[in-house]
Symmetry: C2
Subunit: 214 residues, 2 copies
């Protein structure tokens, strides 16, 4: 399948996928293209402080899935009544049903010590990693794949699971794979968890002009 890539269509079609993975595989050439897209992101001081760990092993994914289930329960315990009921119906990960996981990490030593543009804002390197993630997400969407960012985990668990050194910070576990479809509406909106805001609620001119709705 050829990538279908009009940027605006891809941006607005993109979804955070949990339930729609088919269990199909991802071609190596496609994987290479989406990782190359991620690696083409801008980065503070051209530090390129990201690493991508492609996880296909079932035992590794099962251990991560079990950890995420436990963290799901931690979050559920914070919720009362209606919110707890809504959350019970929401799927938070497609770790085993997706073709693979891509774990993205931040390495603060890349290009250090004097990273151009990072002296005043230490987190600027972390921001760069997120820009790479969005490139990856859009590229995968253009390739007809789904992506779901799982954040129900403890960073130290993921470090131990994948042999990630302590100085690196895991930023995301992305579930990536073929999908039956991309939903027209975000899961959390469809399930009544939360609504999308109108764009005008978050746009200000020349001066911050009060909080958006919600």
């Amino acid at each position: 399948m050829q990538p279908e890539g009009d940027l605006y269509q891809v941006i607005h079609r993109r979804r955070d996928v949990r339930a729609e993975f088919t269990g199909g595989t991802v071609d190596r050439a496609v994987l290479d293209r989406i990782l190359a897209a991620a690696h083409a992101a801008p980065s503070v001081g051209l530090s390129q402080p990201w690493d991508f760990i492609v996880v296909t092993r079932d035992d590794t994914r099962r251990r991560f899935r079990d950890h995420v289930q436990a963290e799901r329960s931690v979050f559920a315990a914070q919720l009362d009544g209606e919110r707890a009921e809504k959350f019970a119906r929401i799927k938070v990960e497609g770790i085993l049903e997706s073709a693979l996981g891509i774990v993205v990490t931040y390495d603060p030593d890349r290009g250090a010590p004097a990273v151009l543009g990072r002296h005043a804002i230490a987190d600027a390197g972390l921001y760069s990693v997120c820009l790479a993630i969005q490139n990856l997400w859009l590229a995968a969407t253009a390739e007809g794949l789904g992506v779901g960012w799982v954040s129900f985990y403890r960073e130290d668990f993921l470090r131990r699971l994948l042999g990630i050194p302590a100085r690196l910070r895991p930023v995301a576990w992305l579930c990536v794979g073929p999908v039956a479809e991309l939903a027209g509406t975000p899961d959390l909106e469809r399930t009544g968890w939360r609504e999308r805001l109108p764009a005008q609620a978050v746009i200000h001119y020349d001066h911050y002009s009060g909080p958006g709705n919600g």
Copy 2:
């Protein structure tokens, strides 16, 4: 001008612009499209924790430019010999030459207290804001505009300059505007500051397998 939007072309053509702004303006319809693209980004728990402050006032931009110049000197003072000489030739901002600034902020209270997916990773909301920034950057590139992320500033200065409440965190000042061209090579590579890494240096399989080069 119609947006020319093949995703992969946009991703690989995109640059972090400093010197190439023409001083031309940005049409309101174009600005609305790139902000809508930013606002369509994924966010943890559908929190949409971003705000965008479009800055066109000259006096505001001048005050920010002066602050950035001072922070440039702070960074320059850390450098020795060859690095200092290279840095002296690098332009770090196009604040006055661009059409406008877009300041992007993070509001941790949006959707709080129980943001789905944020209990284990407090920074997940900040990550969402960066995904929106990359959408904005790619949309602007497709529209034939340049974007330059300025990070030589103190967050408190920017809060005071734009009336941003203390609970919000400024994440970026993006210079946006028409450009004479997008450079084929990143500025920092062309000036010998730092080179791009081969993608294979940052890709691992199933287990973190040692640091990439550089």
